[in-house]
């Protein structure tokens, strides 16, 4: 195994301080992300309260199957991400690379499915703006719902793209042998970010896809 040394920036006392600093920094950043999405959720709450029927109709226009598949994909990707972190912490380089690749793959599939969903919306003229068409009573309110849907999932998708990009960068570093049980901070930090993006989706999915959806049995 390659000789490993802790990589500590010169203005830190030791690696523990560096690790604590990185973790607190990432948590602070995630707090800002919560507030960022929070504004959109606030707008959602206000308008869902005002226009319940429009939101129900809008929700039923979304592709529940694809959305559910995406939810499962993201949850699994959080698992593979956690496994990647664990692999880095335990000097398991091959597993680290494998789990990073899996996470990236799952993230990319998520984005692909999202793309398919968006394309469907375009095809049905369910895109906010001058070409919006909805055959039903609450056209304006459905447009509001769809606008918030695009804004929120679009913002989420941007975060996913950034995440996939950063993961790819770290994948390259991992292949080069950069991470080990003394230097795994970056993997853990991006793991935190990835879990956040996953949790955001866990809120987005029911709020947008599951309004008044009932499972009929038999």
């Amino acid at each position: 195994m390659a000789h490993k040394t802790a990589v500590v920036a010169p203005y830190f006392h030791d690696i523990d301080q560096q690790r604590e600093v990185n973790a607190l920094g990432m948590w602070a950043f995630l707090a800002t992300e919560v507030m960022f999405f929070g504004g959109l959720f606030m707008a959602y709450v206000v308008y869902r309260f005002s226009y319940p029927e429009g939101f129900i109709e809008g929700s039923h226009e979304l592709n529940l199957l694809l959305g559910s598949i995406n939810t499962v994909i993201l949850l699994v990707s959080s698992f593979t991400m956690a496994m990647a972190v664990h692999s880095a912490q335990t000097d398991a380089k091959r597993k680290l690379v494998m789990f990073l690749i899996l996470t990236i793959l799952l993230g990319t599939v998520f984005l692909g499915i999202k793309g398919v969903e968006y394309y469907e919306k375009f095809a049905h003229h369910l895109v906010p703006g001058p070409n919006f068409e909805f055959h039903g009573a609450n056209g304006n309110h459905v447009q509001l719902f769809i606008s918030l849907y695009f804004a929120t999932t679009g913002l989420h998708a941007i975060h996913m793209i950034i995440g996939v990009g950063v993961l790819t960068y770290f994948l390259i570093k991992a292949i080069m042998g950069r991470y080990n049980s003394l230097n795994y901070d970056p993997v853990e930090m991006v793991g935190l970010y990835w879990h956040f993006v996953d949790i955001a989706w866990v809120f987005i999915f029911p709020l947008y896809y599951l309004i008044e959806r009932y499972l009929t049995l038999g």
């Binding site: 226009y51 009573a137 609450n138 304006n140």
Partner: protein, 310 residues
Amino acid sequence: MDNFSFFPEQASTMAARIDSIYFTLVALSILFATLIAVFLVYFGIRYRRSAKTDRSNILYESMALEFGWSFIPFLMAMGIFGWSAFVYYDINRPPDDALEIYVIGKQWMWQIQHPLGKSEINELHVPINQPVKLIMTSQDVIHSFYIPAFRLKQDVLPGRYTTLWFQATQPGEYHLFCAEYCGTDHSQMIGKVVAMGQQEYERWLSGNVASESMVDAGKRLFNDNGCSSCHLASGTGIGPALEGVFGSEVQLEGGGTVLADEAYLRESILDPQAKVVAGHQPVMPSYQGVISEGGVLQLVAYIKSLSNTQ
């Protein structure tokens, strides 16, 4: 330049109440500011570097002092809050018997519509010693109807009605300003409020060309736009009868009720699918873009006249 003063004349019942709070705050502010200034100057001189004076036994903290100078201002603050809260509440609760006048704000002018037909641009004639309630909406952006002499203003919003009520106390002409930035000619969206004695106001109302009252105009619109063909007074039409509706609780399709106020009437005209009356089909077309805000106000006045309540 005539009388230099620190406040406009008091021309409404609210003005004196608001001024009282204001002057109390001025007095309290002068008190505290002077207190701080006196201590700053006194300490600043007594303890300047070149002064030979006792500097031993310095105090670094005192729970008693912290509590004292927190609690006493807090009590004063709560006093001011409470007093202002009562006045603010009254400002926002128009009396039931107020004379209603309709206002439409648009870039960059005020259209005022008196119930009996008189309309004005950038001028509002009102009687003194009688509560007046303005029902206002905007045709475009947010404006604000501000009468400094009455000490009152209220933002005027598109898509909604807001109200402002007052009781003028002395005849005269007072500034009317738009107080919410609304674009290029915001500072020219001004006019005047003319308060006059009761008799003078009656005379003014009936003067000039006798134009349609709001109610008559609304009735005309009601017939011309096909409303009367569905909303039969007998109640057997496609739409519900509108007699007695204003001010009542309306049962909605799908459960729930709503108070039939001006906002409900306006929404029913412009977005009829939003709330469908129980037992009726959602087939009423929307009149958004067909009837202007002014026309909507006239229809609202007409429908209100079909109720026994004012």
